[in-house]
């Protein structure tokens, strides 16, 4: 067991940090879903720490001070993304804390890490708690309070790692966006893997004489490190919703500015004016910038007034966002469910903060599934009339969620039993099936769901009651001639009906829907959702909506392009 950390051991610690993070970087990427669609924290942190490691990988008998300084410089230059920048500043602070030390014991480590925390906080203009800043600060505070001088570095790092994990778990309590997205802070998670690697190295578990070459990123961007994004996600008609993640290193030029007296504040003010998530600092003659902006060109032109670019990276965040649907999982093709099923179960638990109540709903049609996801449902199972999901489909959805109670909305009379069956088979959470027989009942119950009482029985009862108050009606083409409920139905006409009764028949789809609304006293409703099916025409549906709105002035009509099969219109009366 090492009593001191020297330059070579520090290099190995970085190397193992790189390896451990690399092994888990996709998991870290997946944590970053909201509100800023970076989705690449793992990549960014890995790239950053790799740049540091590469700078010292061939170290040979150099002092700790020298190795740490070189690694810090490498990271500073290689830093990508907010998380990368903060990581680089942690190591830069650590390096300055090792100043004058050829080796370090616990006392020196404590001092250096304290410098790391300080410098990391200085890196951002408005430090946010619940991020990796908190994680590193709390860990160092605890380790420095608990460790005694004759502790070994390994003992010191054991405390750090323990608190990193604990602090990481607490991040959703500090940052509500994390809680809402059901994740812990991605940067903090990246940091945890790095520290895990460093601890391994301290125990002597490092790969000597083998550079983790596959992790060696060049500073100027190596696209082989990750697949190109799916460019088809941003089409000729896409809108730029999230701007560009813009990062660069600018070397101030003597011909343009007085470098020694260059004031970074107006520069940083400008970035804050035209962008968000700004990280900007000056190291000697280099200015490092990370900013999210819809117009990177303006920033580049501005920056070039003071110097020239050393590196430059601009990424379309809308494209990234489209790749990382925020918040919830569609179970079909979900990788999250697979992750939870793998041996990495401990990770799944660590990374998805425990929810008391989670929700699973069944829906058919892309638009309807999206609607449920935006409602905040944790998992949507593909299914509905004539395509009932299996119990296994439910189990897969349950496994993707870490919750005490999972509220299940089957949304079809034929699916309730399957849901209950799956609930009986599942041991990971208490499954509560809300017996919603129609999509309307499910939507209505979910949109008013209130779990604040904390009592599952009460929540289920209330949800079932709200669901039962909603009326779901359908418009679909008739497949044969018939007389039902006194309505003369002709083949290929459109009939309007609820579960109980057929109300209207009309050769025109929209006319049938209109008459159906009239028959069901639309004027007495608060809200009517008009969900257009795969065969409905969006333009005609919008005409129908505005016609209904002028007929029934007090009722609010909302159109959703549901894309469901079978029913051309589903009408939800609330």
């Amino acid at each position: 067991m090492a009593k001191i950390v020297d330059g070579t051991l520090f290099m190995h610690m970085l190397g193992e940090g790189v390896r451990t993070l690399d092994a888990n970087r996709q998991l870290v990427n997946d944590l970053n879903v909201f509100p800023i669609p970076d989705g690449d924290t793992g990549d960014n942190m890995l790239s950053t720490i790799s740049s540091g490691f590469n700078a010292v990988a061939d170290t040979d008998g150099e002092t700790l001070e020298e190795v740490a300084a070189k690694a810090a410089e490498g990271m500073l230059l290689g830093a990508r993304g907010n998380s990368g920048v903060i990581l680089s500043r942690i190591f830069s602070g650590i390096a300055s804390g090792f100043s004058g030390n050829a080796t370090a014991g616990t006392k020196e480590l404590g001092k250096a890490f304290e410098c790391g925390v300080k410098e990391a906080y200085n890196a951002v203009s408005e430090p946010v708690e619940g991020t990796m800043l908190t994680v590193i600060r709390e860990s160092v505070e605890r380790a420095n309070a608990e460790a005694v001088d004759d502790d070994t570095p390994e003992e010191y790092f054991d405390i750090i790692l323990d608190e990193v994990k604990k602090s990481l778990k607490r991040t959703p309590e500090l940052l509500s966006v994390l809680k809402e997205a059901g994740v812990v802070d991605s940067g903090g998670a990246g940091l945890m893997y790095i520290v895990e690697g460093m601890v391994k190295a301290l125990r002597g578990e490092y790969l000597a004489n083998e550079m983790p070459g596959q992790h060696a990123f060049s500073d100027d961007g190596d696209n082989s490190r990750k697949n190109l994004p799916d460019l088809s996600l941003f089409t000729e008609d896409s809108e730029l919703l999230f701007g560009y993640c813009t990062e660069f290193l600018l070397r101030l030029q003597r011909s343009k500015v007085d470098i020694e007296n260059f004031d970074i504040r107006p520069f940083s003010d400008f970035l804050n004016d035209v962008g968000e998530s700004v990280v900007c600092f000056k190291e000697g003659s280099i200015i490092k910038v990370h900013v999210h902006t819809p117009k990177p060109g303006d920033i580049l032109n501005f920056a070039q007034r003071f110097g020239e670019f050393l590196t430059l990276k601009i990424e379309n965040m809308t494209l990234q966002h489209n790749e990382n649907t925020p918040g919830a999982e569609k179970v079909s093709g979900s990788s999250e469910a697979d992750i939870a099923g793998q041996e990495n179960e401990e990770f799944a638990l660590r990374m998805r903060p425990h929810k008391k109540f989670a929700t699973v709903a069944v829906a058919a049609g892309e638009g309807m599934k999206e609607t449920f996801l935006t409602l905040g449902v944790d998992a949507v199972i593909d299914g509905g009339q004539s395509m009932n999901p299996s119990a296994a489909d439910f189990l897969k959805a349950f496994k993707s969620i870490d919750a005490e109670y999972i509220l299940v909305f089957p949304n079809n009379g034929n699916i309730i039993l399957t849901a209950e069956q799956a609930g009986a088979l599942y041991t990971g959470a208490q499954i509560c099936v809300i017996k919603t027989k129609t999509i309307g009942a499910g939507y209505s119950a979910l949109s008013m769901l209130d779990v604040s009482s904390g009592d599952p029985d009460e929540i289920v009862a209330m949800a079932e009651q709200i669901g039962a108050e909603a009326v779901t009606a359908h418009v679909a083409p008739a497949s044969r001639d018939a007389v039902i409920d006194g309505v003369c139905v002709k083949k290929d006409d459109f009939i309007g009906f609820t579960e109980e009764q057929v109300y209207v028949d009309d050769p025109d789809r929209e006319e049938a829907a209109f008459k159906l609304c009239k028959a069901l006293d639309a004027g007495d409703m608060d809200v009517i959702l008009i969900i257009g099916g795969a065969n409905a025409d969006a333009e005609k549906a919008e005409e129908l909506r505005s016609r209904l709105e002028s007929e029934f002035k007090r009722t609010e009509f909302i159109y959703i392009d549901g894309g469901q099969p079978v029913y051309d219109y589903i009408l939800i009366f609330e």
Binding site: S176, D273, L373, V377, V527, E574
Partner: protein
């Protein structure tokens, strides 16, 4: 002489400001990469066009103004021997007033004889407007700064503001409302009812299904929580939703006759960036916030 200041986040327009003797501090927003200082960059503001960009998917950001900017506003007044009373939007919502504090501290050193008063309306947009107009009345009636500040200390928390919003994505993004239901994503037809609490923060009170029901609930709050409502203005604010304003007015008239002094004003784009289009709200005199 006492000079009255307020900021554009209180929804006061230059025309109204001039009527009451207010000078305006412009609070900027940035949309599509362009930073706009309302009423400073141009005299007019096409509020409808602004909210249309939000409907089309724009997500503008807002930013704090700098110390230097505050100095630009205030220094000429101090230099001319005037004192300042600044009626501003909620400190709890922004860091901009830290910059203001620093600027004022510096100016006070330079002009030790001058006085600076500030009143935190503990609100923004519609809420602040109700208070601003009342203070404007007092200023016009020749009240001193001390009298106005003393009034505000007692009265600010009697200006209650309640509003309903249409799309939660704007609030979620800005993170400035607490108490939104955990499961609430983008809701169709269900509107959160939000109020401004005594700390000047927005808190979700309820969620209501249906436009009509939501408006009726808003109107009912006057009965439920109002106090001495007729003696003050009832301010209706909206983010480009004149139809909702009209419907709300009708409901108010149905319920209360025409006993209220109703003022309608559009919510400024900077504040509107945080709540999105199609929101409507009421500010009236309440027993307590």
């Amino acid at each position: 002489m006492l000079i009255l200041y307020t900021d554009t986040d209180t929804d006061i327009t230059p025309k109204t400001a001039a009527q009451y003797g207010y000078k305006l501090i412009s609070m900027p927003y940035t949309s599509d990469g362009v930073t706009v200082y309302p009423y400073e960059d141009s005299e007019d503001l096409d509020i409808h066009a602004f909210y249309d960009t939000l409907r089309a998917g724009a997500l503008p950001t807002t930013s704090a103004i700098s110390e230097a900017k505050y100095e630009q506003y205030f220094e000429p007044e101090f230099a001319a021997g005037n004192d300042i009373l600044y009626v501003h939007f909620s400190r709890a919502m922004t860091v901009t007033f830290d910059a203001m504090d620093k600027a004022v501290a510096r100016l006070k050193e330079k002009y030790p004889g001058r006085k600076f008063y500030s009143i935190d309306t503990k609100g923004i947009t519609t809420c602040s407007l109700g208070i601003c107009l009342e203070i404007g009345d007092m200023y016009k009636a020749g009240k001193t700064a001390e009298e106005i500040v003393a009034w505000a200390e007692k009265e600010v928390l009697h200006f209650g503001t309640y509003f309903i919003a249409d799309d939660l994505k704007f609030f979620r993004r800005s993170g400035r409302v607490s108490g939104l239901k955990a499961t609430m994503g983008t809701l169709l037809g269900v509107r959160p009812l939000i109020y401004m609490n005594g700390e000047g923060k927005m808190v979700s009170l309820d969620s209501i299904r249906g436009r009509r029901k939501a408006l009726e609930r808003l109107a009912g709050l006057i009965e439920e929580r109002g106090e001495d409502v007729e003696a003050h203005r009832v301010v209706i604010g909206h983010t480009d939703s004149p139809d909702l304003v009209e419907e709300l007015r009708e409901i108010l008239t149905e319920r209360y006759g025409d006993k209220f002094r109703i003022v309608v004003e559009a919510t400024n784009p900077t504040a509107g960036s945080h709540c999105g289009p199609n929101a409507v709200g009421l500010c009236f005199h309440v027993r307590e916030r």
